[in-house]
Symmetry: C2
Subunit: 195 residues, 2 copies
DNA sequence: TTTTAATATGAATAATCGTTCATTTTTTAA
DNA sequence: TTAAAAAATGAACGATTATTCATATTAAAA
């Protein structure tokens, strides 16, 4: 039954999210994931061909969620600067609400190019492009300086948010709240690029 | 003889830099590092107790270099904004000139908290604080808005540069040159935080 | 030169874990 | 209800690889 299979896949991914976040991909044992999911070791291999595939499926599922959610959020605003501010807030909010996912994306996504030679993270590129598109729109509306290179600016903005996330994810306590961090970071950026 | 030992340690670290960058920590075999260094597998264990220790020593050595170099660069400027610009340029230049090191710091440093429970990267914190101190100085001189929170701003700026590095390190070709990227990123930031 | 100490070697060890598959259990179809 | 198919199990396998250590080599001291 198609429905049940998806259910079990998701159960495995949910378990893997927890275990990968806690131990990292390499130190996470397949048997631990199985135990967390409440199934036998071998069952995992009915749904995933290799351990790697669990991580890839995890990326795909989470990134799809994140991307869809952010698209919706952005569409609620019409002003490019308001979009940027909203992006910052919801990005950081997402991190706060999904620590395990955030930790995996922070840590494992970066090394994914090493152990999965051919895996191209298209969803991540699309996520970055959400910012790129806002900047492009702002330039066209004359709100953002023509000197700004969207390919650099989108990375600078994402990187600023991402480093903040890293700090939260890897340290135990949150020193700044989401609202403050989002407001600060988006205001540096908006003031920095506006015409 | 002290001198010779240090020499061999460095030879091992140099070899490890190459291998870790190419394969990542977990996929790098100790025997490969030994081969790259032109020594026997066992010899590595005279200089390092565990594989982990090679990576830690590597971090320490590289970060010390990076930190020393950047301190010198910053001290050449007196104006906080000029310091920021110089920081951006030399950070990106360093990445460009030391691809292997950059790749390791990008990828392995992030997961270091996972496999080395007790390793605190003090040098990295100091590196971030170089930016924090510049911002503090700028605030005191009235050049930077009092609303700016150095603990957030330093991460935002570093993150912007770091994301650019990530792009360079993980993609094959460099799309933007160092000068352009440094100028863009530091100008967003400076305009964003100035009074 | 001879003795002693320090270094280096690399084959052997031992532990780890991803993956398989013969068997059992559950579900579906007849 | 019974037969066939699908899904699940988990013990066993086998490949990998960090680390050790008995032996050999080189350097230092006597």
């Amino acid at each position: 039954m198609r429905h049940k299979n998806n259910e079990k896949s998701r159960k495995i991914i949910a378990a893997a999210t927890k275990i990968f976040a806690k131990k990292g991909f390499y130190k996470a044992k397949v048997s631990e994931i199985a135990q967390e999911a409440g199934i036998a070791d071998g069952t995992i291999y009915i749904y995933f061909k290799h351990k790697d595939d669990i991580l890839i499926a995890l990326f795909e599922e989470k990134m799809r969620e994140v991307l869809d959610n952010m698209k919706k959020q952005i569409s609620l605003e019409s002003d490019p600067f308001a979009k940027i501010e909203r992006f910052a807030y919801f990005h950081l909010k997402l991190i706060e609400d999904n620590k395990d996912m955030a930790e995996i994306i922070q840590v494992e996504l970066r090394q994914s190019s090493k152990f999965m030679k051919n895996y191209q993270n298209k969803k991540f590129a699309q996520y970055l492009d959400l910012i790129g598109d806002i900047i492009q729109e702002g330039k066209e509306k004359g709100l953002i300086s023509q000197d700004i290179i969207p390919g650099i600016a989108k990375r600078a903005f994402f990187g600023a948010l991402d480093e903040m996330s890293r700090f939260w994810v890897l340290s135990k306590r949150r020193k700044y709240d989401v609202e403050t961090a989002a407001r600060q970071i988006s205001s540096y950026f908006i003031n920095g690029i506006k015409n």
